[in-house]
């Protein structure tokens, strides 16, 4: 037994009080869905957790109608301060039930409990707390006085941060005065359904938030519904593109938070110990199921060997296994389909000539697992340097000059995030200026905060979530324009 072997320290699932069947949450109540129900499983064991209702087009209609009714009759007439109070209540209830939500999230998603407990759920509460305070301060959002809510918001979220993405979507939408129909991902519906119970405990007026479960066809019916005014989507660029096409000409306000292939740039004057931690956090946090993951490591050529050697040594200490174990660093891959994609792209990496390395680690027999993996000798034309893998796979490239690092970092259709590691402030700011990415982390990585706008350039989507910018994605100006120019032409 080495010092790395820990006794198992599993978080108890006794805190959960799950139902065998979950319906759709429409108009403040759980109702039966009309599609064929599906099972949600734990990706770590492939064991069934609960039966989940499947919303068909008629259920989507009912959910949108409930949201419209709640908007017309209740939510649009309520004062901002009262809307805010509901959001504060939700924030507190999330804090109170934080441990339960963290366990459910790790069970359903496969992410390590230390991440769901210390990152996901605290941020969920923080998101509601932050936007709660905006609800009665919309005049200060930057759109001029008395900005207007849009109406009914259709929201479709991914499986990588199930409850956190729900919070990113619902909190600003409600603060701005919209009502919501949201669809969690089909592999991770559990925490959204527990959240529905929280909404009942908060006594949120029925229909203000409707949660419908289902797969891609449910999401498609939702975003294309003629009675929604706003569409917000987080997920793949391919689906985002399809939504941009199908909502064209509809007048729906659209925000898209899509894929990424972030460059994490390490200069030779970087604080190496911190950089190694940042590289590991950048790509192995949440099994690399992160749209802003630092999946392309750009290392200055003269320190390449040292960085790779230290990185390998650090990776050898990562504990892969039971998501509910408090010592686990890397959990399960979310689904078989995702595991297949990661395997396929990794094999392509080998076929194209890159060198693959993983630390020795035992993977459980059941469930979906992929060992942390790095590729060296990667060139910019390799698919593993271009395609989003969305898994614990890092491609390592080198550069010689800052200009080359910038050119390589920007050589992608994506533009979501980037990292810079250097001890030289002027270099960091100079490089940050030239990176075409919506979030730049300097001497840190994967930091999130409700006050900090997040979102991409280019094919990583448009619009921002978080901060004042995230609020304006759910508002429109009341038509106020600059007084000096409303008088028209001089005579």
């Amino acid at each position: 037994m080495s010092f790395l072997d820990y006794a198992p320290a599993p978080e108890s699932t006794a805190i959960l009080n799950l139902r065998e069947n979950y319906g759709l949450f429409i108009g403040g109540e759980f109702v039966e869905g009309h599609g064929t129900p599906f099972s949600t499983i734990s990706p770590a064991t492939e064991k069934h957790i609960a039966q989940i209702a499947n919303a068909d087009a008629s259920d989507v209609d009912a959910a949108v109608a409930a949201a419209r009714r709640a908007y017309d009759r209740t939510w649009s007439k309520m004062s901002g301060s009262d809307r805010g109070k509901y959001l504060f209540r939700i924030a507190r209830l999330v804090q109170e039930r934080a441990r339960e939500l963290a366990v459910a999230e790790s069970l359903d998603n496969g992410k390590p409990i230390k991440e769901s407990r210390d990152v996901d759920i605290p941020l969920v509460a923080a998101w509601f707390f932050y936007y709660a305070g905006w609800a009665d301060k919309l005049d200060y959002a930057g759109l001029g006085p008395a900005p207007r809510a849009l109406g009914v918001a259709a929201q479709v979220i991914p499986w990588n941060f199930p409850l956190l993405m729900l919070a990113w979507k619902i909190a600003p939408a409600l603060a701005a005065g919209n009502t919501v129909v949201i669809k969690p991902a089909e592999t991770t519906p559990l925490t959204a359904l527990i959240f529905a119970e929280i909404l009942q405990q908060a006594d949120l007026p029925p229909g203000v938030v409707n949660i419908i479960t289902g797969a891609g066809d449910t999401g498609q019916a939702l975003v294309n519904h003629t009675d929604v005014n706003k569409v917000a989507f987080t997920g793949s660029t391919a689906v985002g593109r399809a939504i941009a096409r199908s909502t064209a000409g509809s007048g729906k306000k659209l925000t898209l938070e899509l894929g990424g292939k972030a460059a994490n740039i390490v200069f030779d004057d970087a604080p190496i110990d911190q950089a190694i931690e940042g590289i590991v956090n950048g790509i192995f946090f949440n099994q690399g199921h992160v749209c802003c993951a630092g999946s392309r490591l750009l290392v200055q050529e003269n320190i390449h060997d040292e960085v790779v050697s230290r990185l390998k040594s650090r990776m050898s200490t990562l504990r892969v296994g039971d998501p509910l174990d408090k010592n686990t660093d890397v959990g399960a891959i979310n689904s078989r389909a995702q595991l297949d994609r990661i395997r396929e792209l990794s094999n392509v990496g080998v076929d194209e000539g890159a060198e693959r390395w993983s630390p020795a680690c035992e993977l459980p027999d059941a469930g979906f697992w992929f060992a942390p993996t790095i590729f060296t000798g990667v060139s910019t034309s390799h698919r593993i340097a271009r395609d989003e893998i969305f898994g614990p796979v890092l491609s390592i490239l080198t550069f010689r000059t800052p200009a080359e690092a910038i050119a390589k970092a920007n050589n992608t259709p994506y533009g979501l995030s980037a990292g810079i590691w250097s001890d030289k402030g002027s270099r960091i700011l100079g490089v940050a200026d030239k990176l075409r990415a919506g979030v730049v982390w300097a001497n840190t990585f994967n930091q999130f905060d409700p006050s900090s706008p997040f979102g991409g350039y280019k094919e990583s989507g448009y619009g921002r979530e978080g901060g004042r910018h995230g609020l304006t994605a759910y508002l429109e100006s009341s038509g106020w324009t600059a007084p000096a120019l409303t008088k028209g032409a001089r005579k």
Partner: protein
């Protein structure tokens, strides 16, 4: 002794130069009553693509200039417009069939819009950006910057004011522009190109195409090196198809305007990207 006038050949404005359409095509521009005014170049797909190349190569210089510098360069255009007022009034009057006073009012408004937007160049970042109070030891600031190349379909009416109302806001933050001028009244657009060419705006920052928007716009909407699309004047085109084409590369798209877009800082910020930079703070 009478003076025989020397009519102007109206050409395109691409990359700071005035080429004819590579297709060799022209179309007749007529007065409101149908009399011949001029032959304007009828831009082709190739011209549109050349314009995008010129616009792309001008982005780094224009977006990299300081806001103060861009503001002065834009203000300089208003100065030059003022000096050429008689020419613009004359062209608008003849081409749009409006009275001298209406044409004059349009030129005045266009100049005022330039001045208004020019003043934003060194201010919009403060209004649209934020220092963010994150809960941790981090410096965190969000700043908007230009999105890149913006393709614009200018309004059909009010040929000068309409054009200015769409290109000025895109230029403020450092975008470069490929604009399709009013098809029926392109003369003031090309004359504006002459103003731009003799001002301090670098070549390629504004590229002006004349001809059929219905023919050229689809090539711009689907062009992978265009970042954003302003459909201001596309109300009579199949603009939904243009928006669908733009979705392929997830361009930012502004829908058609009814009439002339009112000046607004939202038109400036729409063509920007917000970049949020985090940096660790030492715990002292």
């Amino acid at each position: 002794m009478s003076h025989l006038t020397v009519p102007k050949t109206f050409k395109l404005y691409i990359g700071g130069k005035f080429p004819r359409s590579e297709s060799g095509r022209v179309y007749e521009v007529v007065t409101a009553k149908g009399a011949f005014l001029a032959n304007a170049a009828k831009a082709s797909r190739k011209d549109a693509r050349d314009a995008v190349v010129a616009a792309r190569s001008a982005v780094s210089g224009w977006a990299g200039a300081t806001g103060y510098n861009r503001g002065q360069v834009l203000y300089r255009i208003a100065e030059l417009l003022e000096g050429r007022r008689a020419q613009f009034v004359d062209e608008i009057r003849r081409s749009e069939g409006v009275s001298e006073s209406a044409a004059s009012a349009q030129v005045d408004a266009a100049i005022d819009v330039w001045v208004w937007y020019a003043g934003w160049a060194d201010k919009y970042v403060q209004v649209a950006g934020n220092g963010n109070p994150v809960s941790g030891p981090y410096f965190n600031v969000s700043t908007p910057e230009a999105t890149g190349v913006v393709a614009i379909i200018a309004p059909q009416e009010s040929s000068l004011l309409g054009l200015v109302s769409v290109i000025a806001p895109a230029l403020v933050s450092g975008n470069t522009v490929v604009v399709i001028a009013s098809e029926a009244s392109p003369l003031s657009a090309i004359s504006l190109g002459e103003v731009l060419a003799t001002s301090d705006v670098p070549g390629g920052v504004v590229n002006i195409l004349t001809g059929s928007a219905a023919e050229i716009a689809p090539w711009l909407a689907s062009h992978a090196d265009v970042n954003a699309l302003d459909l201001a004047g596309a109300g009579d085109l199949d603009w939904v198809d243009l928006q669908i084409a733009a979705a392929e590369t997830l361009k930012r798209v502004l829908p058609p305007e009814v009439g002339i877009a009112a000046p607004s800082v939202e038109r400036v910020t729409f063509f920007t990207e917000t970049k949020t930079v985090w940096h660790t703070k030492g715990l002292i």
